[in-house]
């Protein structure tokens, strides 16, 4: 059975419908790239997944649980971890407190997160507001890891960061993948980076999933038509 299954998902912001028919599924330990141009419904799909936007129709199943009617904190407790777009750390908490606030027991703890991001360990007494953009991104990833999720979702994790920092983040994501067990959904625009790490890909076009398959099988013409690369 798949860990996550979205079937015919639709959703609207008020009167304007954003998702029409999104289908995808994800197995345990798999990395899925969710791609598409701006405004095609990637972030909306993520919002539905985490209960931040009510679904209009279709099914949203995680490990046999129906997510459609659950409150956001209950979804998180089922084992979904979100690294939100635009980082969004708790700025009035220190680095260490940001990590502790959400901690649940499991392989990811203060020590393993510090090993993944040594910079966070160096700055653990600083307020999150005083960190650089890249460090805040690391902290957002660390915070999600500390909840020991079974599915980690990274929404535009490298957007707006300097190339060197982006590399650092991608390296960390690869390391998380190499640990096994954890499934990951990556929302990003960089096909080059995604193709190195993702096992499968889903492409969204105007609120519909238009391509679904192994990352290596993504034909060049599909990529250029829907992603513009």
């Amino acid at each position: 059975m798949s860990l996550l299954r979205l079937t015919g998902l639709s959703a609207s912001y008020g009167k304007s419908q954003a998702l029409f028919d999104v289908n995808m599924q994800l197995e345990q330990g798999e990395v899925l790239a969710l791609m598409g141009r701006n405004g095609m419904g990637k972030s909306t799909t993520i919002r539905c997944l985490f209960g931040l936007l009510p679904t209009g129709g279709g099914q949203l199943e995680f490990d046999g649980h129906n997510l459609a009617r659950l409150a956001p904190h209950k979804i998180a407790r089922l084992g979904l971890g979100l690294v939100p777009e635009g980082r969004r750390c708790f700025s009035t908490l220190t680095v260490q407190e940001n990590l502790r606030v959400a901690a649940r027991s499991g392989p990811w703890d203060m020590a393993s997160v510090s090993a993944l991001f040594p910079r966070l360990a160096e700055r653990k007494q600083q307020y999150a507001a005083s960190l650089s953009g890249g460090e805040q991104q690391m902290l957002a990833i660390g915070r999600a890891l500390m909840t020991n999720p079974r599915l980690l979702v990274l929404d535009e994790a490298t957007e707006g960061l300097a190339p060197l920092v982006r590399q650092e983040i991608w390296k960390a994501i690869s390391k998380v993948k190499a640990e096994g067990h954890m499934s990951i959904i990556l929302v990003d625009k960089s096909l080059k980076e995604l193709s190195k790490i993702a096992d499968r890909a889903v492409i969204l076009q105007r609120g519909k999933s238009v391509w679904n398959g192994a990352m290596g099988d993504l034909p060049a013409d599909i990529a250029s038509r829907y992603l513009g690369v």
Partner: protein
């Protein structure tokens, strides 16, 4: 040592030194003033948990303060007249034992916090402020119109309640009781701020949705915080009634809610010792400016304006400079 820690220590030392000096100098009124500071600070410590850490702008904390006062007044007045509160389903008699009164106060405040929280926490922002105010006013008018315990005139208790092994009529001993409770509440708040519960409460103040996506159940969290806050403010109310040996609906009025909020904001919202600094300043101003003009509140208002406009960290925040990015 961080600067804020030093300021906190200095404040606590002053709270011990001033009454001790007054004791040896034979100035019981100064001890009473210090007691009042300790009690009002305790009420502020309660509000600070909801307002400072949780961001819940409760404009109805007088409800808990007054409930604590009335709990004391009702229990003590029944004890004075030797008439039980009720006979059924079990015999419940009044009491003039502080420990007993505090126990009942904790139960009553917690229950009030639960009920008010269950209803008011469904809203946020200005609606929460208005709902908390509405509950406070409901209790206020209820107390005015309920003649059994004095109604509008209030109720006097002739003898201060007792504490096992102490003479509570001795100002310094009563001060010690109040100060000990304040210390206990401050220690508890300090622990709470650094616990996962406190961190989650702080996180939820910034963004309830973001906190929810890391698994924080925001409604329950805030409800528990409001109940804890209500208990501490309720205890302060019971002590305040004991200090004056008098209760009246004024304790439940929105002016009282406002005053408790002023202590917290003057001292520093979300700062551990903020309420103590605020309450101390309030009493000092009242004593210094009160004799000059009966409209001394205008100076307090000006001060509040300055703090809100230019020193959002309050007294503690301005003295400690930048230790915390709390504002």
């Amino acid at each position: 040592m961080k600067r804020e820690t030093m300021i906190n220590a200095a404040l606590l030392l002053a709270m011990i030194a001033v009454p001790l000096w007054a004791y040896y100098a034979g100035k019981p009124f100064t001890i009473t003033l210090a007691t009042k500071v300790a009690i009002l600070a305790l009420a502020g410590v309660g509000l600070n948990i909801a307002l400072g850490i949780g961001g819940l702008v409760s404009f109805g904390h007088a409800a808990f303060f007054g409930l604590g006062g009335y709990t004391m007044g009702i229990l003590a007045s029944h004890a004075q007249s030797y008439s039980p509160l009720f006979n059924w389903p079990f015999l419940f008699e009044g009491s003039q034992n502080m420990l007993m009164i505090w126990g009942v106060t904790i139960l009553v405040s917690a229950l009030a916090g639960l009920i008010i929280g269950l209803l008011a926490l469904r809203t946020s922002g200005v609606y929460f402020i208005m709902l908390s105010l509405a509950f406070g006013q409901m209790l206020y008018y209820f107390a005015i119109s309920w003649p059994a315990y004095g109604g509008e005139d209030g109720l006097s208790i002739y003898v201060r309640n007792g504490f096992p092994g102490l003479n509570t009529l001795d100002p310094i001993q009563f001060f010690a009781i109040c100060f000990a409770l304040l210390l206990l509440a401050l220690f508890f708040t300090h622990r709470l701020m650094n616990s996962p519960f406190g961190l989650a409460l702080n996180a939820a103040r910034q963004s309830p949705l973001r906190a929810a996506t890391v698994g924080v159940g925001v409604f329950r969290l805030r409800l528990v915080a409001l109940i804890i806050s209500a208990i501490i403010t309720g205890l302060a109310g019971a002590l305040y009634a004991d200090l004056n040996r008098f209760i009246s609906p004024t304790m439940l009025s929105w002016q009282t809610s406002g005053e408790i909020m002023v202590f917290v904001i003057l001292g520093g919202v979300g700062r551990l010792m903020g309420p103590l600094a605020g309450a101390a300043l309030f009493i000092i101003l009242e004593q210094v400016l009160g004799p000059i003009s009966e409209y001394w509140h205008i100076y307090l208002g000006a001060m509040l304006l300055l703090v809100v406009l230019f020193a959002r960290g309050g007294i503690i925040g301005s003295l400690a400079k930048r230790d915390a990015a709390h504002e």
